[in-house]
């Protein structure tokens, strides 16, 4: 009996071993490393030098523009995504013909799993001088600048993260008990109040999941502001690439990275709180 338990524990340890090593070596230790770096100093030739100072954190305002852009465009981008995504998710879950539903859903997922780099690069074409501005010049509207503007970055954000917003909302709408909609109508509610009181309310966990996921990913976004913002609309991600790969100021970069993670955690916790309070339900699992 004793040997049996021992063997069972051994098998469990063997199964979990590789994943544990991976998580510790490539997630936990690296995180501790950047936490330690963030209170250190930049070595004269770049990199890190041991120290204990909060100077890096005090220096955060030096990258205020990157923080400001990110903190502004991440929620605005997520909100714009939501406004576009909700009707699509609603249509797919409640209105689309059953045999089309899965095909349409697959059509939403496919762009998300294809290269964001390639798709964002396509927008460089469309928004660039030979794209829409050339078409507009054709009908007499001259000198329209689209690329390298905050608007272009916002468009890229909505485009890139739309599928990630549609999916969780779709999942929560699809789980909705349709009898509730009928009951609401039977009790004399107008379509609008049924939507607000039943449909929207019950889909809020999905909305919160989508919103917080998109927002967290946007906080670390690099490609979209680089390619469509033309170096003018700098995000925290751009500041991090610059600090680690170009100016090699690792301690300052680490302090920014830690701050970024903390903001992400706050966003996640807030989303979870709001979601629980509003609907009494937990967030929808995405996978």
């Amino acid at each position: 009996m004793h040997g049996n338990i021992l063997r069972k524990n051994l098998v469990t340890a063997l199964l979990l071993g590789p994943a544990t090593v991976w998580l510790v070596v490539f997630l936990v230790l690296p995180f501790i490393a950047i936490a330690v770096f963030s209170v250190g100093e930049r070595a004269p030739e770049g990199g890190y030098q041991a120290a204990f100072t909060l100077a890096q954190y005090a220096n955060l305002p030096a990258r205020a523009t990157a923080f400001w852009n990110t903190m502004l465009l991440a929620p605005v981008g997520a909100l714009a995504c939501l406004l576009v995504a909700y009707p699509v998710a609603y249509y797919l879950a409640l209105r689309a013909p059953a045999r089309w539903r899965l095909i349409l859903l697959a059509l939403v997922v496919i762009p998300f799993w294809t290269s964001l780099l390639m798709r964002t690069y396509a927008w460089m074409y469309i928004l660039g001088g030979r794209g829409i501005p050339a078409l507009l010049a054709y009908v007499g509207i001259e000198d329209v600048r689209l690329i390298n503007t905050p608007g272009a970055v916002l468009l890229g954000i909505v485009y890139g993260y739309l599928p990630l917003m549609i999916l969780p909302i779709y999942v929560s709408l699809e789980r909705l008990d349709r009898r509730l909609l009928e009951a609401s109508a039977d009790l004399g509610a107008t379509p609008l109040s049924t939507f607000l009181g039943v449909t929207l309310k019950l889909s809020l966990p999905g909305v919160m999941t989508g919103f917080s996921l998109v927002m967290i990913l946007l906080l670390g976004e690099y490609l979209i502001p680089t390619l469509l913002g033309g170096g003018k609309v700098f995000f925290i991600g751009n500041a991090l690439v610059d600090l680690f790969l170009q100016s090699r100021n690792w301690p300052f970069g680490s302090a920014i990275a830690i701050t970024l993670v903390l903001v992400s955690v706050v966003v996640l916790i807030a989303a979870n709180r709001i979601s629980t309070r509003v609907s009494g339900a937990r967030q929808v699992d995405l996978i």
């Binding site: 069972k8 098998v11 469990t12 340890a13 063997l14 199964l15 979990l16 590789p18 994943a19 998580l23 070596v25 997630l27 690296p30 995180f31 490393a33 950047i34 770096f37 890190y48 699509v88 609603y90 249509y91 209105r95 349409l104 697959a106 059509l107 939403v108 997922v109 799993w113 294809t114 290269s115 964001l116 780099l117 390639m118 798709r119 690069y121 396509a122 927008w123 460089m124 074409y125 469309i126 030979r130 794209g131 485009y159 739309l162 996921l213 967290i216 990913l217 670390g220 690099y222 490609l223 991600g237 991090l240 690439v241 680490s254 990275a257 970024l260 993670v261 992400s264 996640l268 996978i287």
Partner: protein, 270 residues
Amino acid sequence: MRAFVIAVFAFLYLPIVLVVLFSFNAGHHASEFTGFSVQWYGKALSNPFLVEALKNSLFIATTSASLAALCGTAAALGLARVSVRTRAVFDALLGAAIVVPGVVIGISTLVALVQLFAVVNPFLASIWPTDQPPKLSLGYGSIIAAHGLFSMALVAMIVGTRLASLDRNLVEASGDLYATPLTTFRCIVLPQIMPAVIAGFLLAFTFSFDDFIVAFFVAGAQTTLPIYVFASIRRGVTPEINAIATIVLVASVLLVVLAQWQLRQRKQAN
């Protein structure tokens, strides 16, 4: 509402359609389509730097997705056997691996590996019998490991979900009929979780193949396809990129369709 949905789908697919269309453009410019030609495919595939980057990406994606599928599946099986508390710790770490932005994963992996090399390399040099000790550095290994972290977490979650819906009665019945645990695993559990494992592998492969930002930090001197494409875009758009983008898009679509199909099999089996 239907018109809005159609417009959104057009919005989603417009850039993809344009890239594919212009990859067959005979002319040099993006502004006008001057005739059908496959010349850019020829030019792309005879560019040695591009082919090298493509090979690197294929190697890295295959290796990291395979490792992730193995370790992720093992982890999902292991997690079904541990206490609620241990499980919660693991779930939090796996969730973190998925949610932490790529830019932070890239940075922290870079920082940790550079520190590790600073300790290990002098040690190796001191104990090595010959003058040429092996030297650890950034490259294939670090990209594979960093991609694998996210992928493994993804596989563990997908397989874990499948395990949770597995019919326990079948496992018990198998035991009652005197099958060894190994036989039960091979004949009952494995066939049922296999579609989830394959789907996890395909999604992990796609992620690794497409990832730019994590690789950008930990690649060292290596080049992957997204890193090459990013560098070319910054140098100025060339039609060659359209051809490569089309190949990558078609390959990603096939893999995702395959993964979805595997997951569908799983649902039908229920």
